[in-house]
């Protein structure tokens, strides 16, 4: 379990996160939705320990970062590093021997090609494979479905469900509500750096309707298209 209490984050005088409280239980998938700039990625970076913050994050893992797999929205790749070498790098970093990569290459990625020549979706799949091979206990997946083909989307959904059944802690974000609908136990709506709404599985439909109402509103009408 990961417990986040009163987490705030400032960039200079601008407060990006405003007293976030969140409990991430093991064996549960937690989803976060919100507009661009709502603070999702900043929150994820704070949990991972990549950003300083005010407040506290506690977990049964010490330190949490050594048991956490973090899939970034736009994974970073070095030039002239093959997919296989990227997997080796991440496995070595957690002292996990990178064994049988051929069988574990479930997305059929061209592992002997340079990773920075991969397409957006392939990069995401490679980064996801890497954090899965690390045998982590908790996962933060920032936009895991972004740029990924529909077949791989189905595989990723299956992976998330498998992680839940294995008792792992999973936190994901997505702009596509339906993907969260299929995978999450809880969905939190983040707006202007704070959670303004949360819902369990039986409240997802209402949450989506509410989001549509305040997100779309009269924006399209304001364009004055004719």
């Amino acid at each position: 379990m990961i417990s986040i209490e009163n987490l705030s984050k400032y960039y200079s005088s601008h407060q990006v996160l405003k007293g976030i409280n969140l409990t991430l239980e093991a064996g549960m998938v937690h989803g976060i939705v919100g507009e661009n700039g709502a603070g999702k990625t900043t929150l994820f970076k704070c949990i991972a320990g990549l950003e300083d913050f005010e407040g506290s994050i506690t977990s049964q893992f010490s330190p949490l970062k050594n048991h956490l797999g973090f899939l970034q929205t736009d994974p970073f790749f070095f030039s002239k590093i093959t997919g296989r070498e990227y997997l080796q790098l991440l496995c070595n970093a957690r002292q996990q021997p990178p064994t049988d990569l051929h069988a574990k290459n479930i997305f059929d990625l061209p592992l002997n090609q340079y990773a920075n020549t991969y397409s957006t979706g392939m990069k995401k799949k490679l980064a996801l494979t890497a954090i899965l091979l690390q045998q982590n206990e908790a996962f933060i997946l920032d936009e895991p479905f972004n740029g990924v083909d529909i077949q791989s989307n189905m595989v990723i959904t299956e992976i998330i469900q498998k992680l839940r059944s294995l008792g792992k802690t999973v936190l994901i974000s997505s702009h596509i509500f339906s993907t969260l609908n299929d995978t999450c136990d809880w969905i939190y709506l983040l707006k202007d750096g704070q959670f303004i709404r949360q819902a369990g599985r039986d409240g997802f439909a209402d949450l989506e309707a509410e989001m549509r109402a305040f997100t779309v509103g009269d924006r399209v009408a304001r364009l004055g298209l004719s």
Partner: protein
Amino acid sequence: MRHYFKLQLTLINRHISDFGLRPAIGYLLAFVLFIGLSLALFIKTSFAQYLYLLMVISFLLNLGERSRNEFLKSIFKAGEYRKIRLLENAIVALPFVLFLVYKTCYLSALATAVCAAILAFLQFKAISNFTLPIPFSRWPFEFTAGFRKTFCLHLFAYFLTFMAVLVDNFNLGVFSLLVVFVVCLTYYGELEADYCIWIHAQKPKGFLWTKIKTALLYSSILSLPITGVLCGFYPQYTHIILAVQLLGYGYLSCFILGKYAAFPHPISLPQSIMFAVCFAMPPLLLLVIPFFYRQSTQKLTRILP
């Protein structure tokens, strides 16, 4: 088009500021360095004008990189794009052309100008899909990526060793050993993303030790063939060869620690100066290495608690 060049100037100014200098001082320093290095080059070798031409071409090839040019083509009209490329190449080539004229190398100056004009209309694909097999894949990434980018320089160093033995020039042999270590140093010039440090389940000390251990092991793989050949052909100078090898290890360790001592920023001007002073006075490594080590462990504690 004017806005494009103003933006390029702003970008250059930002790079200079990131290095810890005021842009005006940066330009002055660049001018002094350019004149100084050019004079030194022309004094040291009779092939200076050809090296000059090669340097200009290598700079211009970077500007002709395909993805960059495709982006420019997509945002500017065809005529404007051509003007921009011609002007860019002219700006890069001009200092070299002027210096060649000053040195009365008129033919080389003309060749440089013509190359700059021709290369403005050509594009080059920087990324090749060919994957060079290498022995450094067990512990990526610095040597893995670096060697693939610079393997030609290592081949050049081995060629120099061969020539050193052939013409019986020990100094050239030592120089070839230094080339290997200097090339290896460049592998650590680029600061990786926070994430690539964060992924390590290690404390700063362990992380740094792994980095240094990997660097020493892999640089040994690249340098020991030269060291072995030199020791074989010049056994009377074994102590000098081993001293150079040890110095190479020292500079490599110092550079790695200096890089993380500046983290999360690129190596700053004071750190560069300290490193440069160590080049002039190697015994200072004994002071600078522990200093950088202390700084880097402090800097890394934030993301490797």
